[in-house]
Symmetry: C2
Subunit: 133 residues, 2 copies
DNA sequence: CTCCTGGTTTGATGGTGATCGAATCAATCT
DNA sequence: AGATTGATTCGATCACCATCAAACCAGGAG
């Protein structure tokens, strides 16, 4: 069992996994069909993870590069390393990022599928017939 | 001054408004350039608004139709009307929905631009050169 | 093996948030 | 005007969360 096994396995994969193959990633938009209670319970935590300014910047920072070392993340925020770790864990458990330890350092990268799923959910391609007051 | 003026004017329009015309809607992706501290402060509350299962379903319910009466929203949740109102206010202040009173009833509708802005932010078109561990 | 550095976990704390019931406001009906 | 229904606001309560400092764990260097 790899060193950081436990740490790196706590991803919830809440969006993609445990979904009945059919519509893959809750696939087609908040507006097309009402989100079920189960979907909401699964998706809301992901939005919540992005609902903190620190984590949003963190996710962005990670997403902007193939991978980022924690030691490069920490100095970008005026927070204790414990707090940084806490936020990274939130992002991890939301399935938004993954990590791996390589020697001394731990590297994080974004999970594009997770972002993509959220993006698709919010996409308004041919939505609602437009509101006319 | 219209009756529900105060109530319906508390939208934050956090995403679209008060943005220096240039890049319109923070326009092109979490991954392309790191979200600034100001952007994060403006955008995180919108994600937070969607970060609750009740509000996510609520937003979806509203988005699925041109407009929805509060009296049609309330019975869809096992919550007091006070709590429903609280959540609707959160969505309103996040700029995700707008409302208008017409006679006895109050109608809510989705703000597609807000959803679109979030969707664009999360979109992963040609992002990161892919992670190779 | 013993230090040192990088990260995570733990415990405690102050602040925020979801919820309810009651009070209030808005508009319509009698 | 008074009564009724729809919706928001208020006050209180309980749970959760962001944060820090300190303890702890993992690797590498002396």
């Amino acid at each position: 069992m790899s060193p950081c096994f436990d740490m790196c396995q706590d991803s919830a994969m809440s969006i993609l996994e445990s979904v009945p193959q059919e519509q893959a990633v809750t696939c087609c938009g908040l507006a097309t069909s009402p989100v079920t209670q189960e979907d909401a319970a699964r998706l809301a935590p992901v939005f919540k993870a992005l609902g903190d300014p620190v984590r949003l910047r963190m996710a962005s920072l990670i997403a902007a590069q193939p991978e980022v070392c924690v030691c490069d993340i920490t100095p970008a925020f005026d927070l204790s390393s414990g707090t940084i770790s806490h936020h990274l864990k939130q992002l991890r458990e939301a399935g938004l990022v993954s990590c791996e330890r390589r020697g001394t350092y731990v590297f994080y990268w974004i999970n594009p599928e997770a972002l993509g799923a959220l993006s698709a959910l919010l996409a308004v391609s041919a939505p609602v017939p437009a509101h006319v007051p």
